[in-house]
Amino acid sequence: MSQQPPTLTGRQRRRRTTLRVKVGDIVARSLITVGGIGTILAVLGVCLFLVWEAAPLFFAGEAREQASYARPWRDAADARPLHLAVDDHRNLAWTVMPDGKLHVFLLATGETIDQRDLFPDRELTAASFGEGGGDAVFGFANGQVQRADITFETSFISRADIPAAYHDMSVDEVRAYREGAVVLTPRDQFRYRAVKIALDEPADLDEPSPIRHLSHTTRRTGPIMVSYTDDGRLLLSEMRRRRNLMTGQVRVELSDCDLPFTLPADRGAPDYIQMVGLGDNIFVIWDDGHLLRYDLRDRDNPRVVEAIDLVPEPGETLTAAGFMLGRHSLVTGDSLGRTRVWFRIPAREAQRIEAAGVVDALDAVDQAPEGGFEADGMRMVNAHELPGPASGAAVTSLGRSLRSRMLSVGYSDGTVRLYHVTADNLVLETRARTGDAIDQVTMTPRDDGIVAATAAGLHNWRMQPGHPAVTLQSVLQPVWYEDYTRPLHMWQSSAAADDFEPKFGLVPLIFGTLKATLYSMMFGLPLALLAAVYTSEFLHRKTRARIKPVIEMMASLPSVVLGFVAALVIAPIVARFVPAMLLAFIALPMTYLTCAYLWQLMPYRWHVVLSPWRFTCILAVTPLALVVAFLGGRGVEQLLFSGDTRSWLAGHVGTGAPGWFLLLLPVCAVVVALAFALWINPALRMVGEHWSRSRFALLEIAKFALGIAATVALAGLAGLILAGYPWLWFDAATVPWSLDPRGEFTVAGIDLSPIGGYAQRNALVVGFVMGFAIIPIIYTIAEDALSAVPDHLRSASLGAGATPWQTAIRLIVPTAMSGLFSASMIGLGRAAGETMIVLMAAGNTPVLEMNIFNGFRTLSANIAVELPEAAVGTTHYRMLFLAALVLFGLTFVVNTLAEVVRLRFRKRAFQL
């Protein structure tokens, strides 16, 4: 008992931890662990989500065969259908056979609904179908032509009006009903759809002869068609439809016109005749690949303007020809299985890109038409070539999409491929199981299915093309869009016209981001680093305590404020005083240097007294420099820019020499400074060894003046030489070059010339204002790094007799270099991702120009502008996620680099 030690409070002390504490500890630990890890994962999940949303862009398309059945038109087993059309809900389809019979059937089962002979009393010899098949023109053996509208008509039937047999239909089930199909929609309506045929009265060609080929297009003024008759004539006819007010009958009148150029006799009848969408060109094609192009723009004088060979390989033949959406670009398929897309572009551009090797030069065929080839200044070029299947099966059928630049191609071995032409992208490939040649392939109006007819049967695929317009290549490499003369980097996501093709090239946006970063770093980085060095090494401790928070306060300025100031305050000022602005960049350092040299003139006693006031003096002369720049701006404008900076920048007046002069000025200043440091300074030091301080200071001033003179002379001379001033050469005719920095120096599609036409919202303004955003960040981190250099190093250096300047530049800065680097990297990351400033002050045009006086569009501004309007899940939406991912990746790499370097620096700083 007495062994028991007495307790202070008299209570028995518990030696075991209570369960409550234990449980609390465990629960807290698990909660914190789960919460902590979860939080960090959630932040990292941002990246994963971006990938998850952007990745489907690059997934391949999918096609699933829904049905295949024997052809519904059993009466003409070996005939190829002339046309195959499907409605936009993929319920009904119709075909027109060469014998003039129209078949309407259910797409899902092949059940025939309607079958009729369109032309019981005439023999059909040629047909031409418009976009989607809707308006068609038929030609007959008796030399007549007839127009028809074959369309799908939709109506809704109430439950009461439909026979009871249909009441048990399930949603989305399709059944034949009367002369069409009926579907029960999810909204409990019966949607009835039937094919409606409206035939115009037939019209006669002026000298009746069986029509062999027919092609037509519908312009605003009416349909226009070209026909080839058995007697070898090529006829151009305009159709005028007249409605009889009494009977409602539509009569068609033809105004015919013989095309004068007789087809070469040795070639026989052509195999394809195709009329371009606007009716201004006709292609006459033989199956050996020979093409004649007619120019019809002058209707009274149609002429052949081009003859080329579409299949250069001897012995190979052309097996299919058609158009892309809009009937602009010719598509051909050949017996080697290749599909080619041909653009018409100006002949001069064609020569240029042939010389550059973008396309293969095409041999003009032997016989030149009157007036020479390319008389209309245009030329056909092979813009896209799509390879066929490995088996080398010939192309047998082409089907174009009705809403995009996709193309379905059927081959002789039963393969069906879906290409996106602009992106050169093989979206998907599928195969008819029987392996028969594809007679006719067509894409459904909503791009959600492919229907192909073979000799044996009909195949119906449901497909999801995914995002066919985007491939890694189309995003990052120049793409040849329709109506453009060469492959280009473009971002243009919203439509101006109906048959608009969105252009998703990220390069202009990435370029814009880099341009913004470059120019803002060029302005902000030196300022921030210099300010940091001065703050940490030369500023009095008390002043530092006041200055540092002021600059750090800049970091918390919302960027929308900076953007507003940039666009509404600074941009107009800069626009008004461009030369003064440029002069300020020179005047500020010059003023500081001049004042420093004058400062040195002071006797040493004054120097000691005044040196705490040095920074005040520097601050005081800053406005002085600005005033000098402002007043001198006009003089500079007169002297260098012919009195009008805007016109000079646009290249209307003056020469390139002043541009070179300004651009080379900093380079020359560095060269001169180096030369002085290497050769003049040691000599001066030797000469002035025993001179008094003020005498040496005078010498220094002389040196400074000499340096300025040398820099200006050097830059001026270089500018004159580069701009190719004739009087610099003995003979004006031998000027070897004449370069103008305002012109174009296009490399890989990017115009690298640094100056050029002026836009009010430009990179100069953005660079300047972005300085407000990045300077405080770089400054803070760099200043911390410099201050982290241990003081004993400083003391040692000063004790060894080095001046503060020498200590700073030879010891402190090199020691803190990695910290400074990391600061710059973090600033760079911020500049790359900044949104509001560039959104408001950069003009937002996605151009590829380095011109500092022009705007640009960055990834971030693009997202901010376009994402609210992009529909969820579309290619555009996912492209914007990809843009965000690129931005994320860009800053992630830069920041990680900075962080790794910073950690290394910190470790080293601890070791010192």
Binding site: R29, M553, S559, V560, V561, L588
Partner: protein
């Protein structure tokens, strides 16, 4: 040079001679050259700092001066130009331009640096643009009319003019300006009070009725979706809707009646103002007969709104154009005529005789026939001074003051009142006038919500990183990632917020899972969850019992427990997102294409910004935790406290200042971000605030206005950017002020609390 003299004895000292490389050549022992001090380079570096400081000071000064000066009432000037224009307006700002020959806005013939002023002429319905540039050299006369008043209106921007009458019940009771002004001041406060009351009736009472009606309608839609058209629930909802509609109709009628009464009362009082503008116009004599000439001229600004501004008269003056060269006094004009207000001209003076003359204000044409005028082709200057009058109901006027009669105290009163309006009222006129209460409320709500989310999670993450996680490559990688995420562009978070919160989570909340699992698989999953959770609980219990042991078996058990709990969480998540029984909270709204959470809103905005500011909180908290001295933790452990007890009682209180600082910094960052908000819920004009006095009080689904976005919208999207500028400046000043206050608060909190806990270290 003192430095040099200091060195001299050393050089003579033979002991110092054999030193390093210097001994090889005695000539190298030089005094430090002046160039070694690098004075010019130091100045250049200092210049960098000077430019930075200068930039920030200039920017802050610009915003503060412009923002603070916006609401100061300024005098109204009447300027007469050399062309003969007379302009009544307020000088908004001036600037110097390099006038080139042919600059329309500068003075004719003046070259070089010329000052021009931007005059706010107001009366937008009259002139089309409320601002006008006038070159200073062009101004011939300037005076400040005593009774010029500046009236801010509910629509059409400010009105400038001279009071000319006061109408009560259609009867003009005064015409003298001082009398009119006295009457205005007498009746205006009461009218404004009635207008406010009407506004309250319209917004609050009427809004409540509409809300109830909408609620009943949505219940009907929901009943149809759940139970179908012919169910009793649907019928009940239908009956209820009818009932509510009935009630709403009577209630609306009541409210309407009250509003009409107020309107009638307010309509009684009207203010009449005069304004006069003189317009110079080019004119030419068109030959007609040998002694009668016709003159046609276009009024320069046809198409003014003559429906609201009645023309009450005018004067026309014609002069031979080149007669201002002789300085023998003013010769009599060719013609001076008065417009009687109905378009007829009556001659008052002039050397020629007016035969006939008419002014067509609607078409903007003047045509005159003169007898005794010079031959055709002679250039003539014509100036037409039109006097117009407008009646304006008093409730249209927000505030009016005779600008040129104000004393300093009056001006201060107007200034303070405008600031009050700015801070406490909603905007009007496409956000370019009025106040910014909705953006303030939106910003504050969003920021506070963000804080509530971000602080606990940030602290949890920091506690984990600093107190629980053992060091290692993974933890340092995570730390790099967190630091790094602070540098990820804010727009990327916006993209994430839109894609994930608004579209995916929002869709789930609104209309349930997009692809629910079948009932059977889901029930199987539920059973699995039960099993796994049971196993996890058991493992935890075992782990608890073996907690003290550090054996490999105990550690393995720990891993198993952790793994089981993770699987539990995973299965729970799966069960939630594939739940076949959950049809969303707002299926009716979703079905009608009027989503609730499946769009941008204040909740999603604050969650997005919480992610954005998470690194700020984590880093600040980590620093604070690291600053708690190790000795205190060890002392706590020595007293027998567990880890959690130590953290809760010792570490967290000491780290509190750091955590608070992190929170405030996060708030400052969040309040200033705009780019992500453009994607996740900030709108240019929100009808309703995200907080209200009715039912849920905090409406998480509502879109909101934000100060930063307001700046972007008003400065860039508004049609009249010049008129909007003052508003942008004041909003900017407010935003910068809020952020500066937050930052200063963080700063002071840090120093104060640090001092308080400074003696806690031992």
């Amino acid at each position: 040079m003192t430095m040099a003299t200091k060195h001299q004895p050393q050089r003579r000292d033979p002991a110092s001679a054999p030193r390093g490389r210097g001994s090889a050549s005695p000539r190298k022992h030089r005094r430090p050259s002046l160039s070694a001090h690098g004075e010019p380079m130091v100045w250049l570096i200092g210049g960098g700092l000077a430019v930075c400081s200068f930039m920030i000071l200039a920017l802050v000064a610009l915003v503060v001066i412009q923002g603070a000066a916006t609401f100061w009432p300024r005098p109204i000037a009447e300027l007469t130009t050399a062309h003969g224009d007379v302009v009544l307006g307020v000088v908004a700002r001036g600037e110097y331009i390099d006038a080139a020959p042919g600059d329309v806005e500068a003075a004719p013939g003046a070259l070089g640096l010329v000052r021009r002023d931007l005059i706010q002429v107001g009366n937008r319905e009259l002139s089309g643009s409320p601002f006008r540039w006038i070159g200073r050299p062009d101004v011939e006369g300037e005076r400040y009319p005593d009774w010029a008043i500046f009236a801010e209106r509910r629509t059409w921007g400010p009105m400038l003019g001279i009071p000319a009458g006061f109408i009560i019940d259609g009867e003009q009771v005064a015409t003298a300006p001082d009398r009119v002004w006295a009457l205005f001041n007498e009746h205006h406060p009461a009218v404004l009070a009635r207008a406010r009351q009407r506004h309250r009736l319209e917004r609050v009472d009427s809004g409540e009725v509409n809300d109830r009606e909408e609620h009943a309608r949505l219940e009907l839609v929901q009943a149809r979706l759940r139970h179908g058209d012919d169910s009793p629930a649907y019928q009940a909802a239908l009956a209820r809707l009818d009932e509510v509609r009935q009630w709403a109709r009577t209630r609306h009628a009541e409210i309407r009646e009250q509003i009409d009464a107020l309107n009638d009362q307010n309509e009684r009082y009207r203010l009449v103002t005069d304004t006069s503008q003189t317009q110079a116009m080019p004119a030419q004599i068109v030959g007609r007969t040998h002694d009668q000439r016709r003159i046609d001229a276009d009024l320069p600004t046809p198409g003014g709104d003559y429906a609201t501004w009645r023309v009450i008269g005018g004067t026309l003056e014609l002069r031979i154009a080149d007669d201002d060269t002789d300085d023998a006094g003013d010769p009599p004009p060719l013609l001076a005529a008065r417009d009687d207000g109905h378009g007829r001209l009556v001659q008052t003076a002039g050397s020629a005789t007016l035969v006939a003359g008419a002014v067509d204000h609607r078409a903007g044409r003047v045509s005159i026939e003169l007898d005794g005028a010079p031959a055709a082709g002679v250039p003539i200057t014509a100036s037409y001074r039109v006097q117009q009058q407008r009646e304006l109901a008093l409730d249209q006027i927000v505030r009016a003051y005779p600008a040129n009669q104000l004393t300093l105290a009056d001006k201060l009163g107007v200034y303070v009142d405008r600031w009050r309006e700015f801070l406490t009222e909603p905007p009007r006129e496409a956000n370019t006038e009025g106040g910014v209460l909705p953006p303030i409320v939106g910003t504050v709500t969003m920021t506070l919500l963000m804080c509530i989310v971000v602080v606990p999670f940030g602290v949890l993450a920091a506690l984990y990183l600093r107190e629980y996680a053992r060091g290692g490559p993974i933890v340092s990688a995570v730390r790099i990632a967190v630091n790094n995420l602070a540098g990820v562009p804010s727009i990327v978070f916006g993209v994430f917020g839109l894609g994930f919160f608004c579209y995916i989570v929002g869709n789930f909340v609104d209309s349930g899972p997009a692809n629910p699992a079948g009932v059977l698989p889901w029930l199987v999953g539920l059973a699995m969850l039960a099993a796994v959770a049971l196993a996890a609980a058991g493992a935890t219990w075992m782990h608890l019992r073996t907690h003290d042991g550090k054996t490999p078996a105990a550690r393995l058990l720990g891993y198993v427990t952790g793994g089981l709990w993770m699987i539990t969480v995973g299965v729970t998540l799966w069960l939630v997102i594939r739940n076949p029984f959950f049809g969303g909270f707002f299926p009716a709204q979703a079905a009608e294409g009027n989503p609730v959470f499946n769009k941008g809103g204040v909740l999603w905005a604050s969650l997005t910004l919480a992610l954005l500011t998470l690194p700020v909180v984590i880093v600040a908290t980590e620093e604070a935790l690291a600053a708690v001295p190790r000795s205190m933790r060890e002392g706590s452990y020595a007293c027998g406290a567990s880890k959690w007890q130590t953290i809760r009682r010792i570490v967290l209180p000491r780290a509190m200042p750091g955590i608070m600082t992190g929170m405030i910094l996060a708030m400052a960052r969040g309040a200033g971000e705009v780019a992500p908000l453009m994607l996740v819920g900030a709108v240019t004009m929100a009808q309703e605030l995200p907080v209200s006095a009715s039912a849920p009080f905090l409406h998480l689904d509502r879109s909101f206005m934000h100060l930063g976005f307001h700046i972007y919208d008003v400065g860039f999207q508004s049609p009249d950017s010049e008129g909007a500028k003052p508003m942008v400046y004041t909003t900017t000043l407010l935003l910068i002020g809020i952020i500066a206050v937050l930052n200063l608060a963080a700063f002071f909190l840090r120093t104060r609390l640090r001092r308080r806990f400074a003696d806690g270290q031992f």
